[in-house]
């Protein structure tokens, strides 16, 4: 016999609805975790990625000895964590003699590994090392710009892949309205050679601020900055890719009704007051504020409150 199981309280229901597939998806969450051995460089890097993606990432700090994303059977617990935390971007760090300072960036589709890129981290400089020459710091969680430089991002398959993953990892939420004062940082990725990408974050400062004409911009490096050397990578399955790329085609926007915008008044709304529904009125027994005792007390001593107020 089948049993219908539904959440017992509303909080659980809300949580489940958050996890459910949606027509227009919210920003992907990131799971940051590590293997059995991690170097100091990687720990610092993971902390910084977690910081940069604050509010949209989950950091696991325990050692994970059975995660080997590229090997068959080594992704089981990774997929389980993805399901558990509802994360679809994965940053996995490990350090070994064969692959020192190893960082695996991956994406999942329906809580299964979609694609993977493995990079080695060289010349890592944390954000702290740039603190000295910082004039204005960008706001945390602002929408970043991206600058991809170099033909490698188009010609070399691995770099092309890495470009997409990096964009997905750091781009944040897709927004419709952008506040110009929130444009304050940029990720600069340069393909130095066929397998190396120089990655850094810079603060953006507009030199001339005027309403109409575009200001001249200036970049200051704020880190983290590093070289990413591509090692292994696994592209998504062609059929899976086709499924995953599906979008809601006819996303019909709801027509905005009864709202006018005026240069002088700003936003104006029209309100229609519907007929009064006497049938929907609350019953006297519904009013929780009127407990029986209090009502009776009122009946017996109607002036008691007044005298109290008058006395002082």
């Amino acid at each position: 016999m089948l049993k219908v199981k539904t959440p017992k309280n509303h909080r659980a229901l809300r949580e489940l609805e958050k996890h459910a597939p949606k027509l227009v998806e919210n920003a992907k969450k990131t799971l940051i975790l590590q293997g059995t051995k991690t170097s100091g460089v990687l720990k610092g890097l993971l902390a910084e990625i977690h910081h940069l993606k604050k509010g949209n990432s989950i950091r696991y700090t325990r050692k994970n000895d059975n995660i080997r994303p590229f090997e068959s059977g080594g992704e089981t617990s990774l997929e389980f964590f993805s399901l558990k935390t509802d994360c679809s971007l994965i940053v996995f760090a490990s350090h070994s003699k064969k692959r020192p300072n190893n960082l695996v960036l991956g994406r999942t589709y329906d809580h299964h590994i979609y694609d993977l890129v493995e990079v080695g981290v060289d010349n890592f400089k944390p954000m702290e090392s740039f603190l000295g020459d910082l004039k204005v710091s960008p706001i945390l969680g602002s929408k970043p710009l991206f600058a991809f430089i170099g033909e490698g991002f188009e010609n070399v398959e691995e770099l092309k892949h890495l470009k997409e993953v990096l964009l997905e990892l750091f781009r944040g939420e897709v927004v419709e309205n952008l506040n110009l004062s929130g444009v304050d940082r940029v990720y600069v990725c340069t393909a130095v050679n066929s397998n190396t990408v120089f990655f850094t974050q810079c603060a953006v400062r507009g030199l001339k601020k005027s309403g109409t004409a575009a200001p001249r911009v200036e970049l200051t490096e704020i880190g983290p900055s590093m070289d990413l050397v591509v090692r292994r990578h696994r592209l998504p399955n062609e059929s899976l890719k086709k499924v995953a790329m599906k979008t809601a085609l006819d996303r019909s926007k709801k027509k905005e009704k009864n709202i006018l915008r005026d240069a002088v008044h700003g936003k104006l709304g029209k309100i229609y007051i519907p007929d009064q529904q006497i049938g929907g009125m609350t019953l006297t027994s519904d009013v929780k504020g009127l407990k029986r005792e209090r009502r009776e007390a009122k009946k017996n001593f109607p002036a008691s409150k007044k005298t109290k107020l008058d006395s002082p």
Binding site: E17, P21, H111, L145, L167, V174, V175, N179, T200, L283
Partner: protein, 329 residues
């Protein structure tokens, strides 16, 4: 404006995706890769500044609105295609009633939440607690001609209500089953016999054993030792193994006080239980009727058989008799 933008992009050959605020220069090539890191960084930042300038220029061509917080720009949709996180949600499957209503053209009408109750002269809820026409509020139900005598109208109404609720529950389950077949189950509902995870798209996970189940397994394992687990070293917090397979007890048969009386009491209890349970069903009317019917039929059959066998002997006689009578006429 867009034409201009496109032209500009063509000339500089920079790909800009304003939805994601990205700029990509696929034509850039280092003349010679600088060996000094500072130089490399400097060159990258220079090129980066160029690209950011391109993005900002493009941003300023977009429609803007002034706000208290600053200038707000309306961004277009991203052009870089990125994979989804989860599959597209399936549309809700119509229930059997909804299908029927659509076929018949039945439309839902809104009903008022409260109804005037004539019995109490007050407004009451249509459904739920303290509702209108509640059976518990009526002290007397008037008898009708069609009523069966000896039947409790209150319990009858109660039964009918329970039946309706049960039917609705059955329909609901059936609709959910249909939806589960297509994979369009609502995200918060889980149809399962065992503990499957509700999240995602209902992937099967190995069921975790409960504490008691684990204890049972431990007990089974212990039974394989010579002492039946009696002298096994216990883990901290492990309870002694329940010794199963010895439930029957044989109290003394000889009558007396205390334990001597136990056997009789036990038998009495079982007998009483059996009698009280089926007291109203001691005579199964259907079965009795069947039996009598069968008996009667058998009897008749036998009788017919006998008469047939005897008549065969007498047949010739009868015939002759008949014939003779005919001749006589």
């Amino acid at each position: 404006m867009e034409m201009e933008m496109a032209k500009e992009m063509e000339t500089s050959n920079i790909q800009i995706d304003l939805g994601n605020l990205t700029a990509f220069d696929p034509n850039h090539r280092f003349q010679s890769i600088p060996s000094n890191r500072d130089e490399l960084v400097k060159e990258c930042l220079n090129k980066g500044t160029e690209l950011v300038q391109e993005i900002v220029n493009a941003l300023f061509t977009l429609p803007t609105t002034e706000d208290i917080d600053g200038l707000i720009i309306k961004l277009p949709q991203p052009t870089t295609k990125l994979p989804r996180e989860k599959p597209l949600p399936k549309p809700k499957l119509p229930t059997k009633w909804e299908l029927f209503a659509q076929r018949k053209g039945i439309k839902n009408r809104k009903k008022d939440k409260v109804v005037f109750d004539k019995q109490t002269d007050t407004w009451k809820r249509r459904y739920g607690y303290d509702r209108v026409d509640d059976v518990t509020d009526i002290p007397i139900i008037e008898a009708k001609m069609t009523d069966e005598p000896g039947e409790d109208p209150f319990s009858k109404k109660d039964k009918e209500k329970k039946k309706r609720v049960g039917k609705q529950e059955k329909n609901r389950l059936q609709n959910l089953k249909q939806a589960a077949k297509v994979g369009a189950l609502p995200s918060h509902v889980q149809l399962a016999a065992a503990g499957l995870p509700i999240t995602g798209t209902h992937k099967e996970l190995p069921k975790k054993m409960s504490k008691e189940e684990l204890g049972d397994v431990a007990g089974m394992a212990a039974a394989s030792t010579a002492s039946g687990g009696k002298f096994d070293r216990k883990l901290p917090g492990e309870k002694p193994v329940k010794n199963r397979g010895k439930h029957r007890k044989f109290p003394p048969v000889v009558e007396g006080k205390g334990a001597g009386n136990q056997e009789k009491q036990q038998a009495d209890k079982i007998l009483k239980h059996l009698l009280s349970k089926d007291s109203h069903e001691i005579l199964n009317v259907n079965k009795a009727i069947n039996m009598t019917n069968l008996k009667g039929e058998k009897k008749r059959k036998r009788a017919r058989k006998e008469s047939f066998s005897t008549s065969s002997k007498l047949k010739s006689k009868k015939k002759t008799f008949k014939k003779s009578s005919n001749k006589g006429k």
